[in-house]
Amino acid sequence: MAAKELMMELIAILSEIRPGKDFVRADNFFEEGVLDSLDLTALVSALESCYGVFVDVDEMVPENFRSLAAIEKFLAGKGVGA
């Protein structure tokens, strides 16, 4: 999958959870109030069903999902988009 395509998909997933937010410019969703901890659980669930990955309990931390780049890197570690 092309990196750009993955990026667009991630933005679509995130917009479903939090409509109307600017996910592209944010460096840290959680510190900048774009997402909260509740959204994190919804995001994990959405990523799991979209990409068939399993996010273990120790991975469910804001650092892994704080920005588009962080999510991409996290998914790459699971073999998505690589």
Binding site: S37, L38, L40, T41, A42, V44, S45, A46, V55, D56, V57, M60
Partner: protein, 561 residues
């Protein structure tokens, strides 16, 4: 569907329910709600303390969703074998159930509707299957008993719905729970389960507001039976045993028949030869549904959208109460585009799934089942007989006289509240104020000393229409204001409305009102009510009813009490 109604839903639970609140708010399904979750784990604090900050949000619906092993400490002990004796743990658990029920009963008067999902053991708790249902020992037995106890404790509470959570939890099995989320955020349930719960809660709210489907219109070929009757011939249709496909169609018909028996109307829209199709319906030995199960049909070669519009007119019902079932994707597409208010679900590809698909639909939800529901199809059939006599009667007046209409007027009582509320919430056309209320709020409103509400039971020589009218007014000094004037479309066009208004005005006058006022709201579909009232006002004021224009027709007899 109808205009959206905002509900304020308070979620109380022993796990984090904030995600459920968000799902309820974000879901496109009606009604639109504002939802907020109390801090998790504060079930008793929230229920027992009316001064708890969550009540400041003024919720009108309360959902209390707890897990038995979290809210009933003894269930957890039983599951973990952490008890001096199983019998003691059992007793203690039932005492916990009563405490829970007492708390819910204390909180219930603060809202219009309370929804309590039933308790269910998590799907990963196998325990000792041999003993799970052993009386006095097994957790499965105990949880079932606890649910029964709740049902008993809430039996007389009109505004408490014990929601069968097993129905939606069972379909997800182990994946109903997400223990990672529980470790991270005390969210016990998976997103998939929360989404289902949100869907069910919405359907209960729609049911309580009467926002449901009333008519199922079906196609015939490859929908009610397998095959095309015009091509294959009646004898070659797949319907009934021993053909397995035929069994599937028969099962689907049985599911439709069950809907019909509980008050959903059935109709047919089919491109077919009418005579041939009706012959199959009445004579095929494996048909479950017969002509008498349908209130209307359009079996012809015309456009189905036009046929649906005609059926709606014939039944005097809005297309937004219609559900359309057809195996043809083209026909479904046609109806969706031409009549967007009709609910047109995708039928499953296999006829074996037709029945289960129908019985899983949530669009027929209702807060109560009344006598009128069970008899509804007969009402409509009697109406067809009436229309036929109208066609032969020389003039309208003599036809009306020949009907021998009787109206039985009764003050609203506890027993009539469910049906009265059903009428209030489901009636769109002959409805003065379009006020929507749940049973509890309506009863409380009617109990106020300055308020009065009457129900009307109507019958004629063709049969009984049931409880089809509801009026209410408030009195202030020498002025009465009609608050509700609701009449089922079943009795429209027979001057019954004149009798209802005449009677209501008479009652208002005996309560000391010199003037009686009515203000029709400008709703999208209550034209019949607006027009009726427009002819009853005095020339000087468009809200003041003119007693000279409100006359009980002499061919209608009114009984009281």
């Amino acid at each position: 569907m109808k205009e959206p109604v905002i509900h304020r839903v308070l979620l109380v639970g022993d796990t984090t329910l904030d995600l459920l609140a968000r799902m309820l708010e974000q879901s496109a399904e009606l009604p639109t709600v504002e939802a907020f979750a109390a801090p998790y784990g504060q079930v008793y604090q929230t229920l027992l303390n009316p001064a708890h900050p969550v009540w400041a949000e003024k919720p009108d619906c309360l959902v209390v969703w707890t897990a038995p092993h979290l809210t009933l400490p003894s269930v957890e002990k039983l599951l973990r074998f952490d008890f001096p004796s199983a019998a003691a743990a059992y007793e203690a658990a039932l005492a916990d159930v009563d405490q829970f029920a007492d708390s819910v009963l204390q909180a219930a008067p603060r809202v219009g509707l309370v929804i309590i999902p039933t308790w269910i053991l998590p799907a990963h708790e196998r325990w000792i299957q041999t003993l799970g249902w052993r009386q006095g020992l097994g957790p499965a037995h105990l949880v079932a008993k606890a649910n029964l106890r709740l049902a008993e404790r809430f039996a007389s509470q009109q505004n408490i719905v014990l929601l069968d959570s097993q129905f939606w939890q069972i379909s997800l099995g182990r994946s109903a729970y997400d223990l990672r989320m529980y470790a991270v955020a005390k969210i016990l349930y998976s997103n998939a389960l929360l989404a289902r719960a949100a869907g069910e809660i919405k359907s209960i709210l729609r049911g309580s507001l009467g926002q449901t489907r009333k008519v199922v219109v079906c196609d015939l070929d490859n929908t009610l039976w397998g095959g095309v009757v015009g091509d294959d011939g009646p004898e070659n249709l797949k319907l009934g045993a021993p053909d397995p496909v035929g069994e599937c169609y028969q099962a689907f018909q049985s599911a439709l028949k069950a809907l019909r028996l509980r008050g959903i109307l059935l109709a047919i829209a089919s491109k077919n030869d009418e005579q041939l199709a009706l012959k199959v319906i009445d004579e095929h030995p494996a048909m479950v549904l017969r002509k008498s199960d349908f209130v209307a049909w359009r079996i012809n070669w015309k456009d189905k959208a036009a046929n649906l519009v005609e059926i709606a007119q014939e039944l005097n019902l809005g297309l937004d109460s219609f559900l359309f079932l057809d195996d043809s994707p083209q026909e479904r597409d046609r109806i969706r585009k031409a009549l967007p208010e009709v609910d047109v679900p995708e039928l499953p590809a296999s006829p074996s799934e037709y029945g289960p698909f129908l019985t899983a639909l949530s669009c027929f939800e209702t807060p109560s089942l009344e006598k009128e529901d069970f008899e509804r199809t007969h009402f409509y059939q009697a109406e067809r007989d009436r229309s036929q006599t109208r066609d032969v009667a020389s003039d309208f007046e003599s036809w009306l006289r020949s009907l021998q209409i009787e109206v039985h007027a009764t003050p609203l009582c506890r027993e009539s509240v469910p049906r009265a509320t059903q009428l209030l919430n489901k009636t769109n056309q002959f409805n003065l104020s379009l006020r929507r209320m749940d049973e509890k709020s309506f009863w409380e409103w009617a109990q106020q000393p300055s308020h009065a509400a009457y129900t009307f039971h109507v019958s004629d020589r063709f049969g009984d229409f049931g409880l089809v009218g509801l009026t209410s007014f408030n009195v202030r000094g020498s002025e009465a204001r009609i608050v509700d004037f609701v009449m089922s479309c079943r009795v429209m066009g027979k001057q019954v409305e004149d009798a209802l208004l005449g009677y209501t005005m008479k009652r208002a006058r005996t309560r000391g009102a010199a003037k009686v006022l009515a203000e029709p709201v400008d709703g999208p579909r209550n034209g019949p009510a607006k027009q009726f009232f427009a002819g009853k006002f005095s020339n000087s004021a468009q809200t003041l009813l003119d007693p000279d224009r409100v006359i009980i027709p002499d061919q209608i007899s009114i009984k009281e009490g």
